[in-house]
Amino acid sequence: MTKINMTVNGKAVTREVSGETLLSEFLREDLRLTGTHIGCDTSQCGACVVHIDGKAVKSCTTLAAAIDGAEVTTIEGLADGDLHPMQASFKEHHGLQCGFCTPGMIMSGVDMVNRYKAEGRDVTAEAVRHELEGNICRCTGYHNIVKAVQDAATKM
């Protein structure tokens, strides 16, 4: 067992974890933050994306023990009273149907917009499609997701 300290959605957390504990398991089972979804067991769907120190990462392909000291943000930590602009845009543009992929889509979308803004790049539809290559949605056909991310980019 390894003792880890981290900040999850702004709160300090200290736990003992076994070496094989995935961050996704840690978040869902130990912290009961079930907004982070597990959509595959092959590290391909992106439903589990969270931010570690501000960067989008697949929590199902990260060991909890390896991120001692990190700052983790999950979908539950995004809204600050009101919905985050990315969440509001997904709602507005009907960017979700069953909602299973949505936490990952939103966390990846926020990461992308933050990076593009920092680098002064345009959040074009083509760029969004490329950036969301690691996020799979079985319902929407993606068009409204792309619209939602582009719209949120104008509000973030």
Partner: protein, 264 residues
């Protein structure tokens, strides 16, 4: 996942000691392949020795005309580095096309090179650019490093610490990704440097990454798209699987080589 032990190595010595103490221990450098493989129960290391915290393992520097990339540097950091973009723009764009953004934030160059997946991108860059793999024990030319499917010249307890790249006059990488895995169905890296033209191919070889003699000869004589398309690459040693036959891959090799030359 099967139970495993996690150890964060503070130094190379620490890591070597941990690896030496346990036959089934392995290095964790990013885990974007290793952890996925462990989840499938295709690997069950008893201990994961994380080398990312070791001093000097992360970072990018220019030593004269040589670009030095620490083994635990992530794909995103390579892609975004001004030094890499200036010295080897082809390498920066290759790194920007590995997997997806979340994978690029965690996966590392050392991990990719040590794993030598037959469809990975980095091995092609090392081979075509004539890079040198630096370990805790020695330096090896890329030509002597890659050794068949998932095989390398690494010995037990040997840890990649950095990769050094010479500067090419012109270079580019073109990849036809397998859309589900985002690995290369075929990827071709072309480079014109001090010792002539070097062309490497990933995703297509039965024995993993390789240099293409026909393409090197064709592009050495005439650095053009037409020369790439006209090369006789043949199907010997090429892979056939559900994604494509050897013949299909042979054609893609020429098409990707031509695209690479066009963008170099």
């Amino acid at each position: 996942m099967y139970p495993t032990k996690y150890t964060k190595a503070a130094s190379i010595d620490d890591a070597v000691k941990a690896l030496g103490a346990d036959d089934e221990a392995t290095i964790l450098a990013g885990g974007q392949t290793l952890i996925a493989t462990m989840k499938q129960h295709l690997a069950a290391p008893s201990e994961l020795v994380d080398v990312r915290g070791i001093d000097g393992m992360v970072g990018i520097s220019l030593e004269g005309d040589t670009l030095v990339i620490g083994a635990a540097t992530t794909h995103a950091d390579v892609a975004g580095s001004a030094d890499v973009q200036k010295h080897s723009p082809a390498l920066a764009s290759l790194a920007a096309g590995i997997g997806d953004p979340a994978v690029r934030h965690v996966g590392t160059i050392g991990g990719s090179v040590a794993n030598n997946d037959p469809a990975a991108d980095y091995p092609a860059a090392l081979l075509a650019l004539g890079a040198t793999v630096v370990t805790n024990q020695r330096e090896m030319a890329a030509d002597a490093f890659f050794d068949g499917l998932f095989g390398t010249a690494l010995e037990e307890g040997e840890i990649i610490t950095a990769v050094k790249f010479p500067k090419a006059q012109a270079a580019a990488y073109a990849k036809f990704p397998q859309p589900a895995s985002l690995f290369a169905l075929v990827g071709v890296f072309v480079a014109k440097g001090a010792d002539g033209v070097r062309v490497s191919v990933t995703g297509a070889g039965d024995e993993g990454v390789f240099r293409s003699e026909p393409l090197e000869a064709a592009l050495g004589a005439d650095w053009s798209e037409a020369a790439a398309k006209g090369a006789d690459v043949g199907t010997d040693g090429l892979m056939s699987d559900i994604h494509g036959s050897a013949g299909y891959r042979a054609n893609l090799i020429k098409v990707m080589a031509a695209r690479a030359v066009a963008s170099a």
